[in-house]
């Protein structure tokens, strides 16, 4: 089974979905991420879906699940890079992604996580980028 790699950039875990995920890979990714957040103490998770061609109810639910799991470990989640056609389809499908934060691109997503991390004191002062923190 193909697994989605999880990269660590400072205090942030980056998940970039580059393959057409089947349901078992989605579940495996949720488990892998929970492991990594708890092991690293990351303060944020970015899910980059700029290469994802469709988001159906199963994948949509994964975003909400990952956000809930992250919250339990005091980490924030941002989904970035949604394609316009995917966004239009999601609305018509009726999926709201309730409670999942989104950003246009990776850069903006990282910025949101940095602000949230600093506001809550999870990124120490003296590390303005939040990238040295680990």
């Amino acid at each position: 089974m193909e697994r989605v790699p999880i990269l660590k950039i400072g205090g942030v875990l980056l998940v970039s979905i580059q393959i057409d995920l089947h349901d078992q890979s989605v579940l495996a990714l949720q488990e892998d991420l929970a492991e990594r957040i708890s092991a690293t103490g990351a303060h944020g998770v970015v899910i980059d879906i700029s290469a994802v061609e469709i988001v159906d109810s199963f994948i949509g639910r994964m975003f909400a699940t990952i956000a809930s799991i992250s919250r339990l470990f005091d980490a924030d989640t941002v989904v970035v890079g949604m394609r316009p056609a995917v966004a239009i389809t999601l609305v018509e499908l009726g999926l709201t992604l309730g409670g999942v934060r989104t950003a246009l691109d990776l850069e903006r997503g990282m910025r949101i996580l940095r602000v949230l991390g600093q506001e809550s004191g999870r990124i120490p002062a003296g590390d303005p980028t939040g990238l040295e923190w680990s």
């Binding site: 089947h22 078992q24 061609e53 389809t89």
Partner: protein
């Protein structure tokens, strides 16, 4: 209405669901549906193929190009010989699931396509057929 190139694919595993949506994407590109319409059709396919697998206990998909008065479209049907759907009104309602889903698959797929037909019989199985026309 004439049809060409029917292709039948099994749906007995997660990987098959991925293969079916990729095949439907190929057909949708062949008749040059817009990117948004391709995305809608493939998303609907994903929902219906997963239902065939999860609730129908597996089955098959049939994909073809259809023409009507010179207009082209894609027809995809999802067939199983599973338990059938006892209460269609409930199954087609937004947010109702007999399992742990969000209950968006059927109702959402219906909104994403131009034609939607559901044929089911308790104890016999279920066939859902959808069509998306090129605009």
């Amino acid at each position: 209405m004439t049809a060409s190139g029917p292709e039948e694919l099994p749906i007995v595993s997660d990987e098959d669901v991925v293969r079916v949506r990729q095949a439907v994407r190929g057909y949708a590109q062949q008749v040059r549906l817009s990117l948004v319409d391709q995305t809608k059709l493939v998303t609907a396919t994903s929902e219906l193929a997963r239902n065939t697998l999860v609730y129908g206990g597996g089955g098959s998909a049939r994909i073809e190009v259809v023409t009507d008065n010179g207009r082209e479209g894609i027809r995809a049907s999802f067939q199983d010989e599973g338990p059938g759907i006892p209460d269609l009104t409930l199954a087609l309602a937004d947010g109702w699931s007999s399992g742990k889903g969000m209950g968006l698959g059927l109702s959402g797929a219906r909104r994403l396509v131009d034609e939607f037909d559901l044929d089911t019989e308790v104890g016999r199985g279920t066939t859902v057929t959808v069509v998306k026309w090129k605009r």
